[in-house]
Symmetry: C2
Subunit: 238 residues, 2 copies
């Protein structure tokens, strides 16, 4: 009942994976040793291994050695299953211990979130169509809100500041350098070298640097620190 892939777990994947929300399908007493938890683990592994496009109920059932329709005894629909995957993914987000200044605490939280999202790209893809609020994700929000409130931000400003940091981090996980960072870098070189110098002077001049930035992981921290600079400035201005 454990994940095939080694992942940072904030707590062991077990009972909370099996817990069904009130309006979800019930978990039957399986004859095949099936359970919501086991199905979710298999779904997670399949998603991490082959991505959202390759995921289907039929393939998941094959993976589990079970008829396709058997899964529908545990999850009402593909949508409900994917919602549960998100919940489980959010529960695996590492929430760092609160240490140091409000800046340091927020910085650590967002770096942890970035790392978690990088390990589960499918969760990021799924987020597109659903709001980002599940009990797991909210533990992170709680820690962030505590840091911001301790810093002196009002309730109004703290929620907006957290949301800005949260969206930035999800955005970077989505559009930042990914699995194909090196391929992206090369495609960028090709695209930029085809540009006419007279209408794209600044870009042609910096073509090498621009291509490198496509694979540059430190851009995340640059943006994060800039956001924190801005918050600090607003805090000082009152």
């Amino acid at each position: 009942v454990s994940n095939t892939k080694a992942t940072k777990l904030s707590r062991p994947a077990g009972r909370h994976l099996a817990a069904a929300p009130a309006d979800a399908a019930p978990a039957p007493d399986s004859r095949l040793g099936l359970s919501r938890a086991r199905i979710l683990d298999a779904a997670f592994a399949l998603l991490d291994r082959e991505g959202l496009d390759a995921f289907s109920m039929r393939r998941l059932a094959d993976e589990l050695g079970v008829a396709t329709m058997t899964i529908y005894g545990y999850f009402r629909s593909k949508d409900e299953l994917l919602d549960a995957v998100i919940d489980a993914g959010a529960a695996r987000i590492v929430v760092a211990e609160a240490r140091g200044s409000w800046r340091a605490r927020l910085r650590q939280l967002m770096l942890g979130l970035r790392d978690s999202l990088r390990e589960h790209p499918a969760v990021v893809e799924l987020r597109l169509e659903r709001p980002i609020i599940s009990p797991g994700a909210l533990r992170l929000t709680e820690a962030g809100m505590q840091a911001l409130r301790d810093a002196g931000f009002t309730k109004h400003d703290a929620t907006r500041a957290f949301r800005m940091l949260f969206i930035y981090t999800f955005g970077f996980a989505t559009f930042g350098p990914g699995r194909r960072a090196e391929a992206d870098r090369e495609q960028t070189i090709t695209a930029l070298s085809a540009l006419p110098t007279d209408s794209y002077p600044a870009l042609v001049e910096s073509a090498g640097e621009a291509a490198d930035s496509m694979a540059d992981e430190t851009v995340f921290e640059l943006g994060l620190d800039c956001l924190l600079d801005g918050l600090e400035r607003r805090l000082e201005a009152g």
Copy 2:
């Protein structure tokens, strides 16, 4: 041959929509008045109207009053068609005139990008799987690079700064308040009111503000200004 939906066009949609890259399928001499441009316009309209999930080659063909396979005479595959949609979408991004300080220029550029992305959510969805470099998108990059180089950033720092702003803006378009902002706000209220006060004190205390922030459009500008603050600070520090 014009779009059914009124959109900000940086230049009229016409010939550039029909132009095929070197490795794309050729555009035949149609008997039905079909062309790459007409197919792209229909695809754009369908995507904007019903979203990526509802989009299919069969539905697009229906829309055009044509057999499904006819489209394959103009685009080799669904993938090639969607790539062309992205190119056309990127070409529609409004690039503001360069006016005022470097800060003001970058700010305007990113607000224009945000507006363009909001009008074509499907383009954002498509971006997930492809690198963000097409001639249309690069006009924006060129304008941004000019502002940053004028400000005094090195080639290296300017590319990283632009990428950070670009990713932030795409992230906001993806994860920020969308069509269902009000629904998200309400779902958030529900989720937060179910939290136990003792383990989520900061969040429960700010539940109302947190829910409001889900639909708050001004968070985009808060983050943008924070990022620009950070850049300014780095510029002054040298």
